[in-house]
């Protein structure tokens, strides 16, 4: 069993001149391609019993966080469109003011005691997930003069094989910062647009919150190679 290689045009390059932090951190040598073994085709098993889900970042200790409440929902499939059940999603983000609940974030924007900015959810049998949160704010970074990250939410996915492990970022439609952001722009055209969530009236809950849809695709499918079975 193995996963096919990541197709050309899907992932950003490791060396991205416009993103300063890549300069001294990208390897000079190409990675060594290896056949997939049990090490790559199996993955840690995360269950809600052992890793409790919490799908509502809009409240903390029973108190409502400041900002615009929103619902995020989507479906996780593989490259052949097959739903991926049991995926654990780890989600983190800045608060409505653009500040992370993080000691090293020194942006002069208020912290919100009712917003921790971290969630964990699982996909159901059909690959669907959803969570409630607060629309995050844009925040400055020091990559270049007057650099601001577009509004985004970080997603980490644990699939059925360690080779599927993925960390990505979700963006919002219509954000004028997208065209200025080296991290977003570092993804090849055609692939980067799929990191932008879509406003969705079906995800929106009446009298409660706007909804956005963000579908993700994991590597797949898991196929038996043309080898003689032993």
């Amino acid at each position: 069993m193995s996963y096919p290689p990541i197709p050309a045009g899907a992932f950003p390059p490791m060396d991205l001149p416009s993103y300063g932090s890549t300069h001294k951190r990208h390897p000079d040598q190409p990675p060594v391609r290896i056949p997939h073994t049990l090490t790559e085709t199996s993955a840690p098993r995360f269950t809600p019993a052992a890793y409790p889900a919490h799908a509502d970042m809009s409240r903390h200790n029973g108190r409502a966080a400041m900002g615009e409440r929103i619902i995020l929902a989507g479906r996780i499939t593989d490259e052949d469109g097959r739903p991926q059940p049991g995926v654990m999603l780890e989600v983190w983000q800045a608060n409505a003011a653009g500040r992370y609940h993080h000691a090293r974030d020194q942006h002069d924007a208020p912290l919100d005691p009712n917003f921790s900015g971290q969630a964990r959810v699982f996909t159901d049998a059909e690959g669907h997930w959803s969570l409630t949160t607060i629309r995050p704010g844009a925040y400055p970074w020091r990559n270049h003069h007057n650099a601001w990250r577009p509004v985004h939410v970080h997603f980490g996915l644990h699939g059925a094989g360690f080779a599927q492990r993925l960390i990505t970022q979700m963006y919002f439609p219509g954000d004028p910062l997208l065209e200025l952001d080296p991290i977003y722009q570092g993804v090849p055209a055609g692939a980067r647009e799929r990191l932008i969530a879509k406003f969705d009236l079906d995800v929106t809950k009446p009298e409660y919150a706007l909804g956005y849809r963000f579908d993700m695709v994991l590597r797949g499918r898991l196929a038996t190679p043309m080898e003689n079975p032993t």
């Binding site: 001294k24 049990l38 090490t39 993955a43």
Partner: protein
């Protein structure tokens, strides 16, 4: 067919999903409490192309249990944040040999995935155990040029304590695996 969703950097604030206890796979009350095996410490330092420590990296660990099986009685996942000096430290049980392609056998090994600000997608490598006889016939190590193979060999620094430094770029750059 649709392309897999693009990877993006974990950035400097990934610690919102850091649970420091996950660095100890043998912790009391954890998923492996009571599992028999040889307890080991795996440490290392992550440095960049200038030799400067990477103080904001996330290291994920993935391994088989002492019996060489994945997720069959041993939950082989860990996560550790590097500290100000770029160091990480895991406590775990030494994995057993794992079946490889065909009828081959892989030497005991621990997969490490490195996520950080400036890494557009994570890097994957393996920690093998220096002087392990099974290393000689390991089908994955055999794919790594001999001159660079040492970057995958954790060295004993004390009884039960192994160390493997990770150099992201430059001279003695760690061998990363395209998986």
């Amino acid at each position: 067919m649709s392309l897999p969703t693009a990877s993006q950097t974990a950035g400097p604030y990934w610690h919102l999903i850091d649970f420091p206890e996950w660095a100890d796979l043998t912790r009391a009350g954890g998923p492996n409490a009571g599992v028999a095996g040889e307890r080991i410490i795996l440490t290392g330092t992550v440095t960049d192309g200038d030799g400067a420590p990477c103080a904001d990296a996330m290291i994920e660990l993935w391994q088989a249990g002492p019996d060489g099986a994945y997720e069959a009685g041993f939950h082989g996942f860990g996560r550790c944040a590097t500290d100000e000096a770029g160091r990480f430290r895991f406590a775990t049980l030494k994995p057993g040999p794992v079946p490889g392609p065909g009828n081959s056998l892989q030497a005991p090994h621990i997969t490490l995935a490195i996520f950080a600000r400036g890494l557009m997608h994570h890097l994957t490598t393996r920690a093998y155990f220096a002087a392990e006889p099974l290393n000689e016939a390991d089908p994955i190590l055999a794919l790594v040029p001999e001159a660079r193979r040492g970057t995958l060999l954790a060295q004993p620094v004390a009884p039960g304590h192994w160390n493997l430094d990770i150099r992201l770029q430059g001279a003695d750059e760690t061998v990363f695996l395209d998986i």
